[in-house]
Protein backbone atom coordinates (compact mmCIF):
# COMPACT_ATOMS: atom_id res chain seq x y z
CA UNK A 1 0.00 0.00 0.00
CA UNK A 2 2.68 2.51 -0.88
CA UNK A 3 5.62 3.72 1.18
CA UNK A 4 4.88 4.81 4.72
CA UNK A 5 7.19 7.53 5.98
CA UNK A 6 9.02 6.91 9.23
CA UNK A 7 6.86 9.35 11.21
CA UNK A 8 3.72 7.28 10.57
CA UNK A 9 2.01 10.35 9.22
CA UNK A 10 -0.23 9.92 6.15
CA UNK A 11 2.00 10.36 3.06
CA UNK A 12 1.83 13.54 0.99
CA UNK A 13 -0.25 11.87 -1.76
CA UNK A 14 -3.12 11.55 0.75
CA UNK A 15 -3.18 15.19 1.74
CA UNK A 16 -2.45 16.81 -1.64
CA UNK A 17 -5.52 18.88 -2.45
CA UNK A 18 -7.12 19.22 -5.86
CA UNK A 19 -7.85 15.78 -7.25
CA UNK A 20 -11.18 13.96 -6.90
CA UNK A 21 -10.00 10.97 -8.92
CA UNK A 22 -9.19 7.70 -7.22
CA UNK A 23 -7.18 6.43 -10.21
CA UNK A 24 -5.01 9.55 -10.12
CA UNK A 25 -4.43 9.08 -6.39
CA UNK A 26 -3.65 5.40 -6.94
CA UNK A 27 -1.02 6.30 -9.54
CA UNK A 28 0.83 8.22 -6.82
CA UNK A 29 0.15 6.20 -3.68
CA UNK A 30 0.22 2.63 -5.01
CA UNK A 31 0.96 2.57 -8.75
CA UNK A 32 1.44 -1.21 -8.72
CA UNK A 33 -2.30 -1.59 -8.16
CA UNK A 34 -3.25 0.12 -11.44
CA UNK A 35 -4.24 -2.50 -14.03
CA UNK A 36 -2.36 -0.78 -16.88
CA UNK A 37 0.97 -0.80 -15.00
CA UNK A 38 1.55 -4.53 -15.17
CA UNK A 39 4.03 -6.04 -17.61
CA UNK A 40 2.98 -9.25 -19.36
CA UNK A 41 4.83 -11.48 -21.79
CA UNK A 42 2.26 -11.08 -24.53
CA UNK A 43 0.82 -13.83 -26.70
CA UNK A 44 -2.30 -15.86 -26.02
CA UNK A 45 -2.35 -16.72 -22.33
CA UNK A 46 -5.47 -18.86 -22.61
CA UNK A 47 -7.23 -16.83 -19.92
CA UNK A 48 -11.05 -16.70 -19.68
CA UNK A 49 -12.89 -14.31 -21.95
CA UNK A 50 -16.26 -12.79 -21.35
CA UNK A 51 -18.57 -12.54 -24.30
CA UNK A 52 -21.85 -10.89 -25.25
CA UNK A 53 -23.39 -7.77 -23.67
CA UNK A 54 -26.45 -5.96 -25.02
CA UNK A 55 -27.95 -2.61 -24.03
CA UNK A 56 -31.37 -1.31 -25.04
CA UNK A 57 -32.95 2.08 -24.40
CA UNK A 58 -36.59 2.47 -23.43
CA UNK A 59 -38.73 5.44 -22.46
CA UNK A 60 -37.10 6.66 -19.26
CA UNK A 61 -34.05 4.43 -19.03
CA UNK A 62 -31.95 1.58 -20.34
CA UNK A 63 -31.72 -2.18 -19.96
CA UNK A 64 -28.34 -3.88 -19.92
CA UNK A 65 -27.99 -7.64 -20.20
CA UNK A 66 -25.07 -10.04 -20.32
CA UNK A 67 -24.89 -13.80 -20.79
CA UNK A 68 -23.20 -15.96 -18.15
CA UNK A 69 -20.49 -17.73 -20.13
CA UNK A 70 -16.72 -17.22 -20.05
CA UNK A 71 -14.55 -19.19 -22.47
CA UNK A 72 -10.87 -20.07 -22.61
CA UNK A 73 -10.22 -21.18 -26.17
CA UNK A 74 -12.82 -23.82 -26.99
CA UNK A 75 -13.40 -24.60 -23.32
CA UNK A 76 -16.22 -23.15 -21.22
CA UNK A 77 -14.30 -21.56 -18.34
CA UNK A 78 -17.40 -20.54 -16.39
CA UNK A 79 -21.14 -20.87 -16.94
CA UNK A 80 -22.16 -18.45 -14.21
CA UNK A 81 -19.78 -15.50 -14.50
CA UNK A 82 -21.43 -12.08 -14.11
CA UNK A 83 -20.49 -9.40 -16.61
CA UNK A 84 -23.02 -6.65 -15.94
CA UNK A 85 -22.50 -4.49 -12.85
CA UNK A 86 -23.89 -1.33 -11.31
CA UNK A 87 -21.28 1.42 -11.88
CA UNK A 88 -23.12 3.61 -9.39
CA UNK A 89 -26.73 4.28 -8.48
CA UNK A 90 -27.66 5.59 -11.96
CA UNK A 91 -25.43 3.69 -14.36
CA UNK A 92 -24.46 0.19 -15.41
CA UNK A 93 -21.34 -1.26 -17.00
CA UNK A 94 -21.05 -4.49 -18.97
CA UNK A 95 -17.73 -5.96 -20.06
CA UNK A 96 -16.43 -8.19 -22.81
CA UNK A 97 -12.87 -9.37 -23.28
CA UNK A 98 -10.23 -10.70 -20.92
CA UNK A 99 -12.33 -11.51 -17.83
CA UNK A 100 -9.81 -10.99 -15.02
CA UNK A 101 -8.73 -7.57 -16.27
CA UNK A 102 -12.29 -6.60 -17.08
CA UNK A 103 -13.50 -7.29 -13.54
CA UNK A 104 -10.55 -5.33 -12.15
CA UNK A 105 -11.42 -2.43 -14.43
CA UNK A 106 -15.04 -2.51 -13.24
CA UNK A 107 -13.91 -2.41 -9.58
CA UNK A 108 -11.67 0.54 -10.32
CA UNK A 109 -14.41 2.34 -12.24
CA UNK A 110 -17.02 1.76 -9.51
CA UNK A 111 -14.61 3.11 -6.92
CA UNK A 112 -13.69 6.04 -9.15
CA UNK A 113 -17.34 7.15 -9.23
CA UNK A 114 -17.92 6.57 -5.51
CA UNK A 115 -14.68 8.35 -4.62
CA UNK A 116 -15.67 11.39 -6.67
CA UNK A 117 -19.11 11.43 -5.08
CA UNK A 118 -17.69 11.31 -1.55
CA UNK A 119 -15.02 13.93 -2.12
CA UNK A 120 -17.13 16.38 -4.14
CA UNK A 121 -20.44 15.74 -2.41
CA UNK A 122 -22.37 15.32 -5.68
CA UNK A 123 -22.66 12.86 -8.57
CA UNK A 124 -20.66 13.15 -11.79
CA UNK A 125 -22.74 13.89 -14.89
CA UNK A 126 -23.39 10.88 -17.13
CA UNK A 127 -21.02 12.34 -19.75
CA UNK A 128 -18.42 12.83 -17.03
CA UNK A 129 -18.72 9.17 -16.01
CA UNK A 130 -18.46 8.04 -19.65
CA UNK A 131 -15.32 10.15 -20.13
CA UNK A 132 -13.71 8.82 -16.94
CA UNK A 133 -14.23 5.29 -18.24
CA UNK A 134 -12.54 6.25 -21.53
CA UNK A 135 -9.53 7.57 -19.56
CA UNK A 136 -9.25 4.37 -17.53
CA UNK A 137 -9.39 2.30 -20.75
CA UNK A 138 -6.63 4.38 -22.29
CA UNK A 139 -4.39 3.41 -19.37
CA UNK A 140 -4.98 -0.21 -20.37
CA UNK A 141 -3.85 0.19 -23.97
CA UNK A 142 -0.47 -1.48 -23.34
CA UNK A 143 -2.17 -4.64 -22.15
CA UNK A 144 -4.67 -4.51 -25.01
CA UNK A 145 -1.78 -4.47 -27.51
CA UNK A 146 -0.51 -7.68 -25.89
CA UNK A 147 -3.82 -9.41 -26.47
CA UNK A 148 -5.50 -8.63 -23.14
CA UNK A 149 -8.16 -6.31 -24.45
CA UNK A 150 -11.15 -5.18 -22.40
CA UNK A 151 -14.13 -3.53 -24.07
CA UNK A 152 -16.92 -2.16 -21.91
CA UNK A 153 -20.45 -1.08 -22.70
CA UNK A 154 -21.67 1.73 -20.49
CA UNK A 155 -25.18 3.03 -20.01
CA UNK A 156 -27.14 5.00 -17.53
CA UNK A 157 -29.93 7.35 -16.70
CA UNK A 158 -29.01 10.96 -17.42
CA UNK A 159 -30.55 12.93 -14.54
CA UNK A 160 -30.18 16.25 -16.41
CA UNK A 161 -31.90 15.03 -19.60
CA UNK A 162 -34.24 12.55 -17.86
CA UNK A 163 -33.40 9.86 -20.43
CA UNK A 164 -31.38 6.67 -20.78
CA UNK A 165 -28.16 6.80 -22.82
CA UNK A 166 -25.68 4.17 -24.03
CA UNK A 167 -21.95 4.52 -24.73
CA UNK A 168 -19.66 2.05 -26.49
CA UNK A 169 -15.85 2.05 -26.46
CA UNK A 170 -12.90 0.71 -28.35
CA UNK A 171 -9.62 -0.52 -26.81
CA UNK A 172 -7.91 2.83 -27.35
CA UNK A 173 -10.45 4.58 -25.16
CA UNK A 174 -12.55 5.92 -28.03
CA UNK A 175 -16.00 6.79 -26.73
CA UNK A 176 -19.06 6.59 -29.00
CA UNK A 177 -22.60 7.38 -27.99
CA UNK A 178 -25.11 4.87 -29.36
CA UNK A 179 -28.76 5.55 -30.03
CA UNK A 180 -31.54 3.02 -29.43
CA UNK A 181 -29.45 -0.11 -28.74
CA UNK A 182 -26.02 -1.70 -28.99
CA UNK A 183 -24.20 -4.98 -28.41
CA UNK A 184 -20.55 -5.91 -27.87
CA UNK A 185 -18.55 -9.13 -27.64
CA UNK A 186 -18.24 -12.25 -29.77
CA UNK A 187 -21.99 -12.76 -30.17
CA UNK A 188 -22.68 -9.11 -30.89
CA UNK A 189 -23.14 -9.58 -34.65
CA UNK A 190 -26.13 -11.87 -34.08
CA UNK A 191 -27.41 -9.86 -31.12
CA UNK A 192 -27.38 -6.65 -33.17
CA UNK A 193 -29.37 -8.31 -35.94
CA UNK A 194 -31.95 -9.39 -33.43
CA UNK A 195 -32.08 -5.95 -31.76
CA UNK A 196 -32.65 -4.23 -35.10
CA UNK A 197 -35.69 -6.37 -35.84
CA UNK A 198 -37.22 -6.40 -32.37
CA UNK A 199 -36.50 -2.95 -30.92
CA UNK A 200 -39.13 -0.27 -31.48
CA UNK A 201 -39.61 3.25 -30.13
CA UNK A 202 -41.81 3.67 -27.06
CA UNK A 203 -40.85 0.42 -25.35
CA UNK A 204 -41.46 0.17 -21.61
CA UNK A 205 -39.00 -1.42 -19.18
CA UNK A 206 -40.53 -4.92 -19.40
CA UNK A 207 -40.65 -4.75 -23.18
CA UNK A 208 -37.00 -3.71 -23.29
CA UNK A 209 -36.05 -6.61 -21.00
CA UNK A 210 -37.75 -9.00 -23.45
CA UNK A 211 -35.94 -7.49 -26.44
CA UNK A 212 -32.59 -7.73 -24.63
CA UNK A 213 -33.07 -11.35 -23.54
CA UNK A 214 -34.21 -12.34 -27.02
CA UNK A 215 -31.07 -10.76 -28.49
CA UNK A 216 -28.95 -12.85 -26.10
CA UNK A 217 -30.89 -15.98 -27.08
CA UNK A 218 -30.16 -15.23 -30.75
CA UNK A 219 -26.48 -14.61 -29.97
CA UNK A 220 -26.25 -17.91 -28.06
CA UNK A 221 -27.93 -19.67 -31.02
CA UNK A 222 -25.10 -18.86 -33.40
CA UNK A 223 -22.06 -18.02 -31.25
CA UNK A 224 -20.44 -20.87 -29.33
CA UNK A 225 -18.90 -18.47 -26.81
CA UNK A 226 -22.26 -17.06 -25.69
CA UNK A 227 -24.43 -18.99 -23.25
CA UNK A 228 -28.21 -18.89 -23.50
CA UNK A 229 -30.66 -19.03 -20.60
CA UNK A 230 -30.09 -22.35 -18.84
CA UNK A 231 -33.44 -23.46 -17.34
CA UNK A 232 -32.03 -26.81 -16.18
CA UNK A 233 -29.44 -25.19 -13.92
CA UNK A 234 -31.57 -22.10 -13.35
CA UNK A 235 -28.81 -19.86 -14.70
CA UNK A 236 -30.26 -16.80 -16.41
CA UNK A 237 -28.52 -13.78 -17.94
CA UNK A 238 -27.73 -10.83 -15.67
CA UNK A 239 -30.28 -8.20 -16.70
CA UNK A 240 -30.63 -4.78 -15.07
CA UNK A 241 -32.74 -1.72 -15.68
CA UNK A 242 -31.41 1.76 -14.99
CA UNK A 243 -34.02 4.50 -14.74
CA UNK A 244 -35.00 7.38 -12.45
CA UNK A 245 -35.49 4.67 -9.79
CA UNK A 246 -31.80 3.75 -10.09
CA UNK A 247 -30.08 0.47 -10.93
CA UNK A 248 -32.41 -2.49 -10.44
CA UNK A 249 -31.53 -6.08 -11.24
CA UNK A 250 -34.33 -7.99 -12.96
CA UNK A 251 -35.26 -11.01 -10.80
CA UNK A 252 -34.63 -14.54 -12.14
CA UNK A 253 -38.36 -15.38 -11.91
CA UNK A 254 -39.13 -12.70 -14.52
CA UNK A 255 -36.22 -13.84 -16.71
CA UNK A 256 -37.40 -17.47 -16.47
CA UNK A 257 -40.86 -16.40 -17.67
CA UNK A 258 -39.41 -14.34 -20.53
CA UNK A 259 -37.09 -17.09 -21.74
CA UNK A 260 -39.84 -19.73 -21.51
CA UNK A 261 -42.09 -17.49 -23.61
CA UNK A 262 -39.34 -17.05 -26.23
CA UNK A 263 -38.82 -20.84 -26.29
CA UNK A 264 -42.50 -21.56 -26.74
CA UNK A 265 -42.88 -18.97 -29.50
CA UNK A 266 -39.99 -20.55 -31.39
CA UNK A 267 -41.32 -24.07 -30.96
CA UNK A 268 -44.75 -23.36 -32.41
CA UNK A 269 -43.40 -21.22 -35.21
CA UNK A 270 -43.26 -17.49 -35.49
CA UNK A 271 -46.51 -15.97 -34.19
CA UNK A 272 -45.69 -12.69 -35.89
CA UNK A 273 -46.06 -14.24 -39.33
Amino acid sequence: MGPVPSSGRLPAAYTTPGSSSFAQFLAQAAPELLPGNRPTGGGDLGVPHGTTIVAVTFDGGIVMAGDRRATAGSMIASRHIEKVFPADEYSAIGIAGSAGLAIELVRLFQLELEHYEKIEGNLLSLDGKANRLATLLRGNLGLAMQGLAVVPLFGGYDLARAAGRIFSYDVTGGRYEETEHHAIGSGSVFARGSLKKRWRPGLDADGAVEVAVEALVDAADDDSATGGPDAGRRIYPVVATVSAAGYLRVPDTQLAAVSTRIDVERQVGDPRA
Binding site: L10, T15, L111, E114, I119
Partner: protein
Protein backbone atom coordinates in the same frame (compact mmCIF):
# COMPACT_ATOMS: atom_id res chain seq x y z
CA UNK B 1 26.48 35.24 16.54
CA UNK B 2 23.20 35.56 18.36
CA UNK B 3 21.78 32.62 20.29
CA UNK B 4 18.04 31.90 20.12
CA UNK B 5 16.23 32.20 23.45
CA UNK B 6 15.88 28.93 25.33
CA UNK B 7 12.27 27.74 25.54
CA UNK B 8 11.61 24.66 27.64
CA UNK B 9 9.81 21.76 25.89
CA UNK B 10 6.99 22.04 28.43
CA UNK B 11 6.46 25.67 27.55
CA UNK B 12 6.67 24.97 23.81
CA UNK B 13 4.03 22.22 23.96
CA UNK B 14 1.81 24.24 26.24
CA UNK B 15 1.93 27.24 23.89
CA UNK B 16 1.01 25.04 20.94
CA UNK B 17 -1.81 23.36 22.83
CA UNK B 18 -3.20 26.73 23.97
CA UNK B 19 -3.03 28.01 20.42
CA UNK B 20 -4.89 24.97 19.04
CA UNK B 21 -7.50 25.05 21.81
CA UNK B 22 -8.23 28.72 21.19
CA UNK B 23 -8.70 28.10 17.48
CA UNK B 24 -11.07 25.20 18.11
CA UNK B 25 -13.05 27.07 20.77
CA UNK B 26 -13.97 29.78 18.26
CA UNK B 27 -15.94 27.33 16.09
CA UNK B 28 -19.46 26.01 16.55
CA UNK B 29 -19.99 22.64 18.19
CA UNK B 30 -20.80 19.23 16.73
CA UNK B 31 -22.68 16.56 18.69
CA UNK B 32 -22.44 12.87 17.85
CA UNK B 33 -25.01 10.60 19.47
CA UNK B 34 -25.63 6.90 19.34
CA UNK B 35 -29.23 5.75 18.84
CA UNK B 36 -30.88 2.34 18.56
CA UNK B 37 -30.38 1.97 14.78
CA UNK B 38 -27.13 3.85 14.31
CA UNK B 39 -25.23 7.04 15.04
CA UNK B 40 -26.54 10.58 14.52
CA UNK B 41 -24.48 13.73 13.90
CA UNK B 42 -25.70 17.30 14.31
CA UNK B 43 -24.14 20.73 14.07
CA UNK B 44 -25.28 24.29 13.72
CA UNK B 45 -24.13 24.99 10.16
CA UNK B 46 -26.22 27.09 7.78
CA UNK B 47 -24.05 26.14 4.76
CA UNK B 48 -25.36 23.44 2.40
CA UNK B 49 -21.98 22.94 0.75
CA UNK B 50 -19.28 23.32 3.41
CA UNK B 51 -19.85 20.28 5.56
CA UNK B 52 -18.59 19.42 9.02
CA UNK B 53 -20.03 15.92 8.78
CA UNK B 54 -19.17 13.54 5.93
CA UNK B 55 -19.19 10.01 4.65
CA UNK B 56 -15.85 8.18 4.66
CA UNK B 57 -16.83 4.61 3.80
CA UNK B 58 -19.74 2.16 3.86
CA UNK B 59 -20.18 2.16 7.66
CA UNK B 60 -17.80 4.97 8.65
CA UNK B 61 -18.40 8.70 8.98
CA UNK B 62 -16.37 11.71 10.00
CA UNK B 63 -17.25 14.85 11.94
CA UNK B 64 -14.96 17.76 12.69
CA UNK B 65 -14.73 21.17 14.31
CA UNK B 66 -12.07 23.83 13.97
CA UNK B 67 -10.44 25.26 10.88
CA UNK B 68 -12.27 24.26 7.72
CA UNK B 69 -9.28 23.99 5.39
CA UNK B 70 -7.42 21.77 7.85
CA UNK B 71 -10.20 19.30 8.59
CA UNK B 72 -11.31 19.23 4.95
CA UNK B 73 -7.78 18.14 4.06
CA UNK B 74 -7.96 15.39 6.69
CA UNK B 75 -11.41 14.32 5.44
CA UNK B 76 -10.14 13.90 1.86
CA UNK B 77 -7.11 12.00 3.18
CA UNK B 78 -9.49 9.73 5.10
CA UNK B 79 -11.62 8.98 2.02
CA UNK B 80 -8.45 8.18 0.07
CA UNK B 81 -7.12 6.00 2.89
CA UNK B 82 -10.38 4.06 3.16
CA UNK B 83 -10.89 3.64 -0.59
CA UNK B 84 -7.31 2.46 -1.13
CA UNK B 85 -7.58 -0.02 1.72
CA UNK B 86 -10.91 -1.35 0.44
CA UNK B 87 -9.49 -1.61 -3.08
CA UNK B 88 -6.35 -3.49 -2.04
CA UNK B 89 -8.09 -5.82 0.42
CA UNK B 90 -11.87 -5.92 0.70
CA UNK B 91 -14.62 -3.54 1.71
CA UNK B 92 -15.07 -5.27 5.09
CA UNK B 93 -11.40 -4.70 5.94
CA UNK B 94 -11.81 -0.93 6.21
CA UNK B 95 -12.20 -0.07 9.89
CA UNK B 96 -12.63 3.08 11.92
CA UNK B 97 -9.80 1.96 14.21
CA UNK B 98 -7.30 1.90 11.33
CA UNK B 99 -8.44 5.30 10.15
CA UNK B 100 -8.35 6.76 13.68
CA UNK B 101 -4.76 5.50 14.01
CA UNK B 102 -3.72 7.11 10.72
CA UNK B 103 -5.32 10.40 11.80
CA UNK B 104 -3.72 10.20 15.25
CA UNK B 105 -0.25 9.70 13.73
CA UNK B 106 -0.80 12.62 11.38
CA UNK B 107 -2.12 14.99 14.06
CA UNK B 108 0.61 13.95 16.50
CA UNK B 109 3.41 14.42 13.99
CA UNK B 110 2.16 17.85 12.96
CA UNK B 111 1.79 18.84 16.63
CA UNK B 112 5.36 17.96 17.57
CA UNK B 113 7.31 18.76 14.40
CA UNK B 114 5.62 21.71 12.69
CA UNK B 115 5.50 25.28 13.83
CA UNK B 116 1.70 25.34 14.01
CA UNK B 117 -0.54 22.51 15.25
CA UNK B 118 -3.72 21.62 13.36
CA UNK B 119 -6.64 23.50 14.91
CA UNK B 120 -9.09 20.63 14.63
CA UNK B 121 -10.90 18.04 16.65
CA UNK B 122 -12.36 14.97 14.95
CA UNK B 123 -14.74 12.11 15.51
CA UNK B 124 -14.42 8.92 13.47
CA UNK B 125 -17.53 6.78 13.94
CA UNK B 126 -18.34 3.31 12.70
CA UNK B 127 -21.57 1.37 13.07
CA UNK B 128 -21.52 -2.36 13.69
CA UNK B 129 -24.18 -5.07 13.60
CA UNK B 130 -25.74 -3.77 16.84
CA UNK B 131 -25.29 -0.81 19.22
CA UNK B 132 -22.72 -2.78 21.24
CA UNK B 133 -20.47 -3.03 18.15
CA UNK B 134 -20.55 0.70 17.34
CA UNK B 135 -17.27 2.58 17.68
CA UNK B 136 -16.73 6.25 18.39
CA UNK B 137 -13.20 7.67 18.34
CA UNK B 138 -12.47 11.20 19.34
CA UNK B 139 -9.17 12.71 18.17
CA UNK B 140 -7.70 15.95 19.39
CA UNK B 141 -5.17 18.40 17.88
CA UNK B 142 -2.16 16.71 19.56
CA UNK B 143 -2.96 13.24 18.21
CA UNK B 144 -4.50 11.76 21.34
CA UNK B 145 -7.29 9.27 20.71
CA UNK B 146 -10.12 8.39 23.04
CA UNK B 147 -12.77 5.75 22.45
CA UNK B 148 -16.06 7.22 23.62
CA UNK B 149 -19.27 5.52 24.65
CA UNK B 150 -22.67 6.77 23.61
CA UNK B 151 -22.05 10.38 22.63
CA UNK B 152 -19.36 12.98 21.92
CA UNK B 153 -19.56 16.77 21.93
CA UNK B 154 -16.75 18.78 20.32
CA UNK B 155 -16.06 22.45 19.67
CA UNK B 156 -16.36 25.77 21.40
CA UNK B 157 -18.74 24.90 24.23
CA UNK B 158 -17.90 21.19 24.45
CA UNK B 159 -17.89 20.93 28.24
CA UNK B 160 -21.13 22.81 28.84
CA UNK B 161 -22.99 21.01 26.01
CA UNK B 162 -21.50 17.68 27.08
CA UNK B 163 -23.06 18.09 30.51
CA UNK B 164 -26.46 18.89 28.95
CA UNK B 165 -26.32 15.82 26.71
CA UNK B 166 -25.07 13.60 29.55
CA UNK B 167 -28.11 14.51 31.64
CA UNK B 168 -30.56 13.31 28.98
CA UNK B 169 -28.91 10.73 26.75
CA UNK B 170 -29.34 7.03 27.47
CA UNK B 171 -28.68 3.87 25.45
CA UNK B 172 -31.35 2.56 23.06
CA UNK B 173 -33.22 5.82 22.34
CA UNK B 174 -34.75 6.22 18.85
CA UNK B 175 -33.36 8.72 16.30
CA UNK B 176 -35.95 11.47 16.89
CA UNK B 177 -35.22 11.55 20.62
CA UNK B 178 -31.43 11.66 20.40
CA UNK B 179 -31.65 14.35 17.73
CA UNK B 180 -33.95 16.39 19.97
CA UNK B 181 -31.39 16.09 22.80
CA UNK B 182 -28.55 17.13 20.48
CA UNK B 183 -30.40 20.04 18.87
CA UNK B 184 -31.61 21.33 22.26
CA UNK B 185 -28.03 21.29 23.53
CA UNK B 186 -26.74 23.11 20.40
CA UNK B 187 -29.36 25.83 20.85
CA UNK B 188 -28.96 26.20 24.60
CA UNK B 189 -28.04 29.63 25.97
CA UNK B 190 -24.28 30.12 26.41
CA UNK B 191 -24.66 31.82 29.79
CA UNK B 192 -27.08 31.95 32.67
CA UNK B 193 -30.03 34.25 32.03
CA UNK B 194 -29.84 34.28 28.21
CA UNK B 195 -32.62 32.81 26.06
CA UNK B 196 -32.37 29.28 24.62
CA UNK B 197 -32.64 29.29 20.84
CA UNK B 198 -34.89 27.01 18.81
CA UNK B 199 -32.73 25.93 15.84
CA UNK B 200 -34.65 25.46 12.57
CA UNK B 201 -33.80 22.70 10.05
CA UNK B 202 -32.23 25.33 7.75
CA UNK B 203 -29.66 26.22 10.44
CA UNK B 204 -28.65 22.61 11.04
CA UNK B 205 -26.43 20.08 9.39
CA UNK B 206 -27.66 16.63 10.35
CA UNK B 207 -26.59 13.20 9.10
CA UNK B 208 -26.88 9.60 10.25
CA UNK B 209 -25.09 6.30 9.88
CA UNK B 210 -28.16 4.10 9.58
CA UNK B 211 -27.62 0.43 10.44
CA UNK B 212 -30.72 -0.61 8.47
CA UNK B 213 -29.34 0.61 5.13
CA UNK B 214 -27.73 -2.11 3.00
CA UNK B 215 -24.24 -0.92 1.98
CA UNK B 216 -23.53 2.78 2.28
CA UNK B 217 -25.08 3.62 5.62
CA UNK B 218 -24.42 7.36 5.55
CA UNK B 219 -27.36 9.63 4.83
CA UNK B 220 -27.87 13.36 5.19
CA UNK B 221 -31.15 14.57 6.69
CA UNK B 222 -32.22 17.86 5.15
CA UNK B 223 -35.31 19.94 4.46
CA UNK B 224 -38.69 18.29 5.07
CA UNK B 225 -37.17 14.99 6.11
CA UNK B 226 -35.24 16.68 8.92
CA UNK B 227 -38.23 18.81 9.93
CA UNK B 228 -40.34 15.63 10.22
CA UNK B 229 -37.76 13.88 12.40
CA UNK B 230 -37.40 16.94 14.65
CA UNK B 231 -41.17 17.34 14.92
CA UNK B 232 -41.60 13.65 15.80
CA UNK B 233 -39.84 14.16 19.12
CA UNK B 234 -42.18 17.04 19.99
Amino acid sequence: MSMPFYVSPEQLMKDRADYARKGIARGRSVVVLQYDDGIAFASENPSRALHKISEIYDRIAFAAVGKYNEFENLRVAGVRYADLRGYSYDRVDVTARGLANAYAQTLGTVFTTESKPLEVELVVAEIGAGPADDQLYRLTYDGSVAEEQGYVVMGGQAERLGALVAAQWEPGLPLAQVLAIGVRALGSAPEEGAEDRQLSPAQLEVAVLDRTRPRRAFRRLTGDLLADVLAAAG
